[in-house]
Symmetry: C2
């Protein structure tokens, strides 16, 4: 089977998005937000049937690991209560999608992060999503300030309460930033990629995985700049007197395949061990158009991976087995359905 | 001939570096800095003969476009007067190196940037370096705050006074950040690469080169994450309703070859037109070790470029002709020496 590890609910019903706007307006006005709207199953079906589900069928993707829209997490906005209510609403909606299409979507949650608020306060929502909603992982924002980078590095003990819960629950996190308020950055054009590179370098400088050998992180967008500069990172590890990236980081970190052209995918698979790669497309996401050079969608990453003509054992790792290893709760859910 | 467009004076004499420390200590104490020390020609010769000059000879590099140590620019430190004195000291030292070895080094200057200070205040030092010291370009720091990204994007009119002077003087800038004070980032591991990607996306979102058709910028470190994600940037331009990166940006932007492994260089030349590539190594710089996989220095980028077996016309572009086109004052200096 083919599992896409990286899909966001970018097509959520308009009422959901409108409620977020109302919530923000209420916060600015110092008022209580309106009640969350009723959204019917039909509205949810309509929101995915002609987008994610159609494209999954066209591209032969069986299952998407599905999470709330990353750019809309907006952890920088408002306060802890705002983020908590928004995360809960987003996660509940993901659970409804997964409930309507249990063979097509499985949930990953947004955390109710807020700048300056201890990450420990996000653990309850993680537990609710995993234990009550059947989610298999979370998205972790390394910069809830929205492009000002005011949080400590991901390797700082300030983050450990989340890692302890992740290890206990046996769920991974995808390191994924959200929208930016800093005008230097474009969210999907630079901030996302910068965050991926930043996180990797933080991990290379630390002994985080000696402290948490069971912790697993996914760095999306093909690892940011890292595979392209793999020699630089190997050389920097050497300069810093640290173990190689393969030894120090890649036992616990995976990159997805959200790289939107063939040469990038070729390099990714040339440089990074296939055991560290998860198929992903971020469809429907940052780049939705058709590449005039190929006539196919930029984000149809299955075409690029298929074009590699991987050995069968490697192919099944990238498309399925690595995901089942990294998301044990996904593996258990599939096994319960008799998919071994 | 082979021109390395990206070399910093990372081996400057100890007295120079000690003066910077004394300058910083004096600033913190609210005192006047000590006078800049006397540094002999022999000290300068000793600082490069067993490092840059030896490695250039070993690697067959004829000429290095040489600028002050990027990580030591430290524009975030102190105030405008501190940056002005430090830039002047650094640039004067580069001029002495180039004066001692006119066939081997040609100068590019550090600007006396300081957070919140108008870039117009840097123009006098640029003019001094070009007109009096014979320099051929400058390094432009898009984030003088040192990793807090408090300046407007490079496409904001706030930067235009510098661009006007650059166009008038016919010199390019390399977009190059310096050290960081933000603990999220590692200077050479993430901040440098992030800045490259950030600058490119700023340019893709703007019409800067319609305003300044004669402006030329070099994005170092192989363009950060850009070539690896070239499909993403082509797709984002499409999503944003803008011209393609090749049309909107690459008429005025070049990437260097500071990518420290063969697969990265292969991708760079696969994706980016050879007319947009400048040979560079950043030797002696961020990564000084020997790659155990090859037995050669990570930053010996000539090996990677040579291994491409470029057609002769392409080879001469990357090694010489593009540099002479982008740095007309370098071309003029070489022509005066009879090197055509």
């Amino acid at each position: 089977m083919i599992i896409d590890c990286h899909g966001h609910y970018t097509t959520a019903p308009a009422a959901h998005t409108a409620w977020r706007e109302a919530q923000q307006a209420a916060f600015r006005a110092g008022e209580r937000p309106p009640p969350y709207p009723a959204i019917s199953d039909d509205e949810i079906r309509a929101s995915v049937e002609d987008s994610q589900l159609r494209l999954m069928a066209e591209r032969g993707i069986d299952l998407t690991v599905f999470s709330p829209r990353a750019s809309a997490m907006g952890h920088h906005f408002g306060d802890e209560a705002v983020s908590a209510a928004w995360a809960r609403a987003c996660n509940d909606l993901i659970a409804r999608v997964a409930g309507l299409y249990p063979d097509r979507f499985i949930g990953v949650c947004q955390l109710p992060q807020s700048p300056g608020v201890p990450i420990a306060n996000s653990v309850a929502e993680l537990r609710r999503c995993v234990n009550e909603l059947g989610f298999v992982g979370c998205n972790l924002n390394p910069d809830p300030s929205g492009g000002h980078w005011t949080s400590p590095p991901l390797t700082d003990p300030a983050w450990f309460p989340l890692y302890e819960a992740m290890v206990e629950l046996d769920v991974p996190a995808m390191v994924h930033v959200s929208a930016v308020t800093n005008p230097s950055f474009h969210a999907t054009g630079s901030h996302y990629l910068n965050a991926d590179t930043t996180a990797f370098m933080q991990l290379l400088e630390s002994d985080l995985f000696e402290t948490f050998p069971g912790l697993r992180l996914i760095i999306p967008h093909g690892g940011g700049a890292v595979p392209y500069h793999w020699g630089r990172f190997r050389g920097l590890a050497d300069m810093l007197g640290r173990r190689s990236p393969a030894e120090a980081v890649m036992g616990n970190v995976l990159f997805d395949t959200c790289v939107y052209h063939q040469p990038g995918i070729d390099l990714l698979f040339d440089v990074i061990d296939v055991g560290n790669l998860l198929f992903g497309s971020e469809m429907v996401g940052a780049v939705r158009g058709i590449d005039p050079l190929t006539g196919h969608h930029f984000d149809d990453t299955r075409r690029y991976v298929d074009a590699l003509l991987l050995a069968p054992g490697d192919r099944v790792k990238v498309y399925e087995r690595n995901a089942r290893r990294v998301y044990p709760r996904l593996d258990a859910a599939l096994s319960r359905r008799g998919i071994c």
